[in-house]
């Protein structure tokens, strides 16, 4: 391998991991909801789109840095998610219908409503937040003069990645160290047993939907400095979150984090070595491969290690 080839490979891997960190944050939100509710939230990407428009508004009206808008957009999305669960999904859960999964259908409709509302309000123009650091990057040669290869690390990508990591760590702490977090995990593992322990399961569902929405909302704010925004962008991110959730093993947060990174790296490799336009194909190749060869997802690998089976 020549040094130029090595450079391309390393650069691709770096880009993949940075992308994967954001994917992980998007996927973890859906995975949490999947774990507790046992349904896929197919409005997940649209919720991210809503957060991105909030960040866009804050930027264009008040010149608020998109990274700071995390602190506004994520809590707003948390409230929106709780409201969706409380006033839309919970009532539908209680209705007996011919479709067993009508809450899923509800989320599809919700996604359409959000996307069309965004089109009505903002039109379907492409928008972005032109921050002055958008093209800034660190170069390896700045730190190591005689470096045989040259690598660059984009400033906004790295900051987004780092914030995503911090948020994920906070989430991990919340889920493993606090009673509320443990109650959410308990509800996901066995909701009836959780009921018997005195967990208010309905409340956990509301909080979890809020949490999942808040997480994807934060991801939206991290994505907007490096991406552009239009009303229909939600759909593809719903699919990405869906692939990650399946890859991670339906409801396993650790699985989803690893799944997000794997997907990011795989997409990045596809984009470099096959072609930019093929990245989504790579995404679905890995999805189908996971369904065929690893139906339990990454969670089943982790479980084999932890439980020795």
């Amino acid at each position: 391998m020549t040094s130029a080839q090595l450079e391309v490979l390393l650069q691709t891997l770096i880009a993949g991991v940075l992308l994967g960190g954001l994917y992980a944050l998007i996927g973890v939100g859906m995975t949490l909801i999947m774990g507790v509710m046992k349904i896929i939230n197919l409005a997940h990407g649209e919720l991210m789109m809503v957060a991105m428009y909030i960040a866009y508004l804050l930027f264009s009206l008040f010149h608020l840095d998109p990274y700071l808008s995390v602190f506004i957009a994520a809590p707003l999305l948390f409230l929106l998610g709780m409201a969706i669960q409380k006033f839309l999904i919970n009532p539908v859960l209680k209705v007996e219908s011919i479709l067993p999964e009508n809450q899923v259908i509800l989320t599809v409709g919700l996604g359409m409503v959000l996307a069309n509302l965004a089109t009505m309000i903002f039109t379907s123009d492409y928008l972005s937040t032109p921050v002055d650091y958008a093209t800034k990057a660190w170069y390896l040669s700045d730190f190591w003069r005689s470096s045989p290869i040259e690598l660059s690390l984009s400033y906004p990508w790295s900051v987004s990645f780092l914030i995503a990591v911090v948020i994920t760590l906070c989430l991990g702490f919340f889920l493993t160290k606090t009673d509320l977090g443990k109650s959410i995990r308990a509800t996901a593992q066995d909701s009836e047993a959780a009921l018997l322990m005195g967990v208010n399961v309905d409340r956990m569902r509301v909080i979890t939907f809020g949490l999942g929405s808040g997480l994807v909302g934060a991801a939206g704010c991290l994505l907007i400095p490096i991406y552009y925004l239009y009303p229909d962008l939600g759909g593809q991110f719903t699919l990405i979150a869906f692939v990650i959730t399946i890859l991670g093993g339906l409801g396993s947060t650790v699985g989803a984090i690893i799944g997000g990174i794997v997907l990011g790296v795989f997409e990045s490799l596809t984009a470099t070595y096959i072609g930019m336009g093929w990245a989504p194909v790579g995404r679905f190749v890995i999805f189908v491969a996971a369904l065929i060869f690893l139906p339990g997802g990454i969670a089943s690998l982790l479980q084999r290690k932890r439980f020795g089976r």
Binding site: Q189, D190, L195, L196, M197
Partner: protein
């Protein structure tokens, strides 16, 4: 302490409990005996608020509880150790015990109660950091009982605590249940292991196809001709 009065319970259109009435007095061990499908677990699930009676009422203390949310019953001092243990298998022993003490006073006294549970089951103390999915059946039952005690209940209900355990462990579990009663906790137990259950029970009710067909002191029930032939095989 607990009074169940004329309850009817349905799964969809199928009635599984017909006019069931019984009571548990303070400091008693009361057993519900019956075959598979007699409705024993349904009774416990109805008392804990997971299922609702279509008719009749349930009083705990003197308060009607049949319309309360399950978590309010935990606050009131009721604990239910479910059939098949129902542990949170991807959590450690300690986390499972924590889940038993989420509310109010039990949460404030969590550390203290945990030590009491570890005194009762020293083996759990050794395995406190182990995931519950990796424990043996007996150990899992110990965690389930310990988790039930963590809420500092006045009444604890056991659903088939001996299910799937080796005879020596069954004996140990029944000893523990007697010990729990000595600590002042009232016990309601549902079992298919009729002989051993009756030997520790003050009173028992026999349930057949959703109806109470017999009631009396543990001893009396054990000597009943019908029970002897139907359940004890003598």
């Amino acid at each position: 302490m607990l009074q169940v009065k004329h309850i009817d319970v349905f799964y969809g259109d199928v009635q599984v409990l017909h006019d069931v009435s019984f009571e548990v007095r303070e400091h008693e061990i009361v057993a519900l005996i019956g075959t598979n499908g007699a409705g024993k677990s349904t009774i416990l699930r109805t008392i804990s608020g997971i299922m609702r009676p279509e008719a009749g009422e349930i009083l705990f203390g003197d308060v009607p509880i049949h319309n309360l949310e399950p978590y309010k019953l935990v606050d009131a001092g009721m604990s239910h150790v479910p059939e098949g243990r129902r542990l949170f298998v991807e959590m450690t022993v300690e986390e499972n015990l924590d889940m038993g003490s989420l509310r109010g006073k039990a949460k404030a006294e969590r550390e203290k109660t945990r030590e009491v549970v570890f005194d009762l089951f020293p083996r759990l103390k050794e395995r406190r950091k182990q995931l519950c999915g990796t424990l043996s059946g007996g150990e899992q039952q110990m965690v389930a009982i310990g988790r039930g005690l963590m809420s500092k209940p006045k009444l604890i209900m056991f659903d088939e605590p001996s299910l799937g355990l080796a005879p020596i462990l069954v004996k140990e579990i029944f000893n523990i249940i007697e010990k729990i009663r000595q600590e002042g906790v009232t016990v309601l137990i549902v079992e298919q292991n009729v002989k051993q259950t009756l030997s520790i029970s003050d009173r028992a009710y026999v349930l057949e196809t959703g109806r109470i067909v017999l009631e009396g002191a543990g001893e009396t029930i054990m000597n009943d001709e019908h029970v002897k032939t139907a359940y004890l095989g003598v």
